[in-house]
């Protein structure tokens, strides 16, 4: 038998994902819709002897043509014509959830309604007359509890039965009142007359409704002038009667229909004015307690990600160190064979450089999954919105930016929680300006070398502050130029608080980790190997190294290599910043990872391993002024942290263009600001 295609739709926070997981188990695949950053989730299952392909469409509140999610969902239902559309509703919030349902009804989609979270609804005292409601809405209704695994069979039964149904036209329609119905029938007649093809494909009533709503997509599809003129007349006529846009009146009437249906079929046996969620909110979004609670939770997230993540990270570092030593041991001691170097310093170090992020990412997404599934995430956005909005961002942007203080890589990945594309891109662009943990290695080398103990703290603070300030300014600028556009309405639902299930949290966490490894991982590894190549080749003649001790040999080798040469080449360009080729070489190496700056600098100054940082510091002190030192700090702060950041930006934006934009932008910004500071500083000091 033919494969059944089932589309899952529903409001955000309706538990659609857990229902999807319930239906498809581990047989799922996450990707992107072409050209956009919206996730595409597909999976399959076998039931009743049939193979069923399930598409999890993005969560939406409505099916207008204004957001990418809505357009994708609508297009899928209209063009791909799935066999069944399952609308997942939060049963304890039926009225609002049914709004989408009525629009699906009007699209004549073969509908099954999943009353999800029915356990919570029951606990709240809601009683449904499902038979009657089913008759009114002309769709099978199945109560489910997605995150507890209940209702799977019943749902799949309903799906199969609905797929078998004959496609009869609907009996019950949402009635919009005589004035609107009159205009509708006029437009319908015109459509049947002039646009037969469209009418056959989409249904005349639905088209008429969309035209009255002035739906951009449908308006573009209608060619016939008489129809468009008629629509225009109807719209202005209705506008004058109702003193409102027809689409608003239509929305109103839909809700009226829903209210009516619900009043007949739903009873609230327990009259509870304020439930547990209200009480929690009273504390959590309290004027006094709200902010401290938020900061506390943010601290917890940060701690979980970085402090707790430290242990597995060290474990992994040890593992890779061991791996490097083992592979290295396959060659005789002191060998400089290229394969040995490639494997040990190139590939293993490269893979290690990727995997080392995994604990942070998994833990971060554990924290995010907890925040989202409990419902707190929306409250966090609520508390922070005032500040974020002033910069042109959304309240939710705070969290990824905060994570950026630990490491940009998981921070950029965390921007997934931002729904608005422009907000998301802006946030991704400025996250690197949050001084990350890796830069600390540079700060702890440079600052004690050049500043007296009294100044060390303040200088560090200054650097962090400059980073934040620049981020704010850049965000504002970006929002005014590249990512400009009217701020989309904030209007955000605050979902009821819920207990997260281990299963959903773990699945969530795992999917993210896997995505990171597959996508960012490959890019990072690739670039690491390239950088290794640049640092290792060309190799100097062993004769040239004769008579030099180990450190001096390393120094010579580095200078001879591609990176060293590039460092020399770049010197004239970075001279105005107060930098010489040695710093240049270290900076180039540091594009792999900021920590590399220190080790590269040690090699260049022939101080070998970084155990001798004091020796290195003395040498630096002798070579540069405090102003130059400060410029090094500035440049490290502003320029791209590492290639992993670039790779992650590429992954999250689904385009190399933005990644390059970020890289070039940060580099130019770093150069410009450091230039100004150095030149002005030289005059003053």
């Amino acid at each position: 038998m033919r494969q059944l295609v089932v589309a899952l739709v529903g409001n955000p926070n309706s538990g659609k994902s857990s229902l999807f997981n319930l239906l498809t188990g581990s047989h799922q695949h996450v990707g992107n819709y072409p050209g956009v950053t919206v996730e595409k989730k597909e999976g399959y299952c076998t039931y009743g002897g049939r193979e069923i392909r399930v598409i999890d469409l993005p969560g939406t509140y409505s099916l207008t043509a204004y957001s990418t999610e809505e357009i994708i969902t609508r297009q899928f239902i209209l063009e791909d014509k799935p066999d069944v559309v399952v609308d997942v509703l939060d049963a304890s919030n039926i009225e609002r959830n049914l709004y989408l349902g009525t629009q699906l009804m009007e699209m004549n989609a073969p509908l099954v309604l999943a009353f999800n979270m029915s356990d919570l609804a029951q606990r709240r005292g809601l009683e449904f007359d499902l038979d009657q409601l089913s008759r009114l809405l002309e769709a099978r209704i199945v109560p489910t509890v997605g995150n507890k695994g209940q209702g799977r069979e019943a749902l799949l039964d309903a799906v199969i039965q609905t797929a078998r149904d004959d496609k009869k036209p609907r009996m019950h329609h949402v009635r919009y009142g005589s004035e609107i119905e009159e205009e509708l029938s006029r437009i319908e007649t015109a459509i049947l007359d002039q646009e037969r093809d469209l009418a056959i494909r989409h249904g005349s009533r639905w088209l008429a409704l969309k035209l009255l709503e002035q739906d951009d997509e449908i308006l573009a599809k209608v060619q016939s002038r008489p129809v468009l003129d008629l629509v225009r007349k109807s719209v202005s006529h209705l506008r004058s009667i109702f003193h409102d846009e027809p689409e608003i009146v239509l929305a109103d009437r839909r809700y009226g229909f829903i209210s009516g249906a619900c009043q007949e079929t739903i009873r609230n046996s327990v009259e509870r004015r304020h439930d547990a969620s209200d009480m929690i909110d009273a504390i959590v979004t309290n004027r006094v307690l709200g902010l401290p609670i938020f900061l506390l939770l943010m601290y917890a997230v940060f701690w979980l990600t970085f402090t707790l993540g430290e242990y597995p990270m060290q474990g992994l570092e040890w593992l890779f160190g061991w791996l490097q030593a083992s592979v290295s041991g396959l060659w005789p001691e002191g060998s400089t064979h290229w394969l040995r170097s490639l494997l040990v310093d190139g590939m293993i170090a490269g893979v290690g450089g990727v995997v080392v992020f995994l604990p942070n990412i998994l833990l971060l997404f554990l924290a995010i999954a907890l925040l989202e599934d409990t419902g707190y995430m929306a409250r966090a956005a609520f508390v922070m919105d005032r500040i974020m909005h002033k910069i042109g961002l959304h309240g939710k942007s705070f969290i990824p930016m905060l994570i950026g203080f630990g490491c940009s890589v998981p921070a950029i990945m965390a921007t997934r929680i931002l729904e608005n594309r422009r907000n998301r891109l802006t946030t991704i662009m400025v996250i690197p300006l949050m001084s990350c943990g890796a830069r600390l290695t540079i700060y702890s080398l440079i600052i004690p070398a050049f500043f007296t103990p009294r100044w060390r703290g303040p200088v560090m603070w200054l650097i962090y502050l400059i980073g934040i300030l620049l981020a704010v300014i850049c965000a504002k600028l970006l929002r005014l130029t590249v990512f400009q556009g009217e701020t989309l309405p904030f209007v955000m639902e605050l979902p009821p608080y819920r207990m997260p299930t281990t299963k959903s949290v773990v699945i969530h966490m795992w999917q993210r980790g896997w995505m990171f490894l597959k996508k960012a991982g490959t890019v990072i590894l690739g670039i690491s190997v390239v950088l290794w190549g640049l640092a290792s080749f060309p190799q100097p003649d062993p004769a040239q190294l004769a008579g030099l001790d180990e450190e001096q040999a390393q120094q010579a080798a580095l200078e001879y290599s591609a990176i060293g040469r590039i460092g020399h080449l770049v010197e004239p360009v970075i001279r105005p910043l107060g930098f010489d080729w040695k710093i240049g070489t270290a900076l180039i190496g540091a594009t792999a990872a900021k920590e590399v700056f220190v080790s590269q600098l040690s090699i260049v100054y022939a101080t070998g391993s970084d155990d001798n940082t004091d020796v290195l510091r003395e040498k630096l002190r002798a070579s540069y002024t405090p102003l130059v030192a400060f410029c090094i700090l500035l440049f490290s702060l502003i320029s791209t942290p590492c290639i992993a950041t670039v790779a992650m930006t590429r992954q999250e934006t689904n385009s190399w263009g933005w990644a390059v934009f970020q890289f070039v932008g940060l580099t130019v910004l770093a150069y410009g600001i450091t230039l100004i500071v150095y030149q002005v500083g030289r005059i003053w000091i």
């Binding site: 509140y61 409505s62 207008t64 204004y66 304890s92 919030n93 009225e95 609002r96 709004y99 846009e245 689409e247 608003i248 929305a251 109103d252 809700y255 969620s277 209200d278 909110d281 009273a282 979004t285 309290n286 004027r287 006094v288 709200g290 902010l291 929306a378 956005a381 609520f382 508390v383 919105d385 005032r386 500040i387 909005h389 009217e486 989309l488 309405p489 904030f490 209007v491 955000m492 639902e493 605050l494 979902p495 009821p496």
Partner: protein, 236 residues
């Protein structure tokens, strides 16, 4: 209707007093048929009213005799007339109401408006009279402009007294009257279920003053104050 003292008169009785005052002033006494004609009522109604007024000792009335006012009646009658005058002047001079509408408004208001309020209106009128001409004129001009801005005399069109969700305090409820905002926001609000006649409850405000939390159709929504300002409500 607020509770009135035993001696307080109903509207029509005050009208009688007024008429009698003018008649007595003009002719020395008032006759039943004159009163009936002026108030456009039946003679029988007049005699009934006169009996009540006589009981209250406002008038001297013996059947088939001309009517005169007692000192108390004179005081009450002048009070009513004065009220009428103050209100009418307020309506015409300050609010710029047309003479006929002002007359009718004054006739209605003079009977129910508490004396305290009339006294304050009088004081206010003194203030207005004392204003130099340009300021007095600008007051009237302002009213004209405000009225001119609205297409009709519909009070819900003006900004004073209009409440939006942004004005509501936590814990208060209201019913949505109108959503007046640009298309994008209006659509989003409509999609989320905010429409005419829907009950909305403001639950709280974020720690930094913005956004606000509301409850609608049984679920919770967060809105920026700037967005809330476009939702017009009548508060409970």
């Amino acid at each position: 209707m607020s509770a009135k003292s035993a001696n307080a008169l109903t509207a029509s009785l005050e009208d009688y007093l007024e008429v009698i005052l003018w008649s007595v002033a003009a002719n020395g006494a008032a006759r039943v048929k004159d009163i009936a004609r002026q108030l456009q009522v039946q003679a029988a109604s007049v005699t009934g009213a006169l009996q009540v007024l006589a009981e209250k000792r406002f008038v001297h009335y013996k059947p088939y005799e001309a009517v005169t006012l007692t000192p108390e009646g004179f005081q009450e009658a002048t009070r009513v007339v004065r009220c009428h005058h103050i209100i009418r002047e307020f309506l015409t001079q300050v609010l710029g109401v047309e003479a006929e509408a002002a007359e009718e408004g004054a006739c209605r208001l003079e009977h129910d408006i508490p004396g305290e309020i009339v006294a304050r209106l009088a004081a206010f009128m003194e203030y207005v009279q004392a204003l130099p001409e340009p300021e007095r004129g600008s007051l009237a001009a302002f009213i004209e402009r405000s009225m001119g801005r609205t297409a009709s005399a519909d009070p819900s069109e003006l900004s004073f007294g209009r409440s939006t969700v942004a004005d509501m305090k936590p814990g208060h409820e209201g019913v949505i009257v109108r959503i007046g905002s640009h298309a994008e926001l209006a659509r989003r609000l409509a999609d989320m279920g905010l429409g005419r006649g829907v009950l909305i409850e403001v639950e709280g405000v974020a720690p930094m003053g913005d956004p606000i939390r509301i409850k609608i159709r049984g679920y919770r929504l967060a809105l920026r104050k700037s967005e809330a300002r476009s939702i017009v409500v009548i508060e409970k």
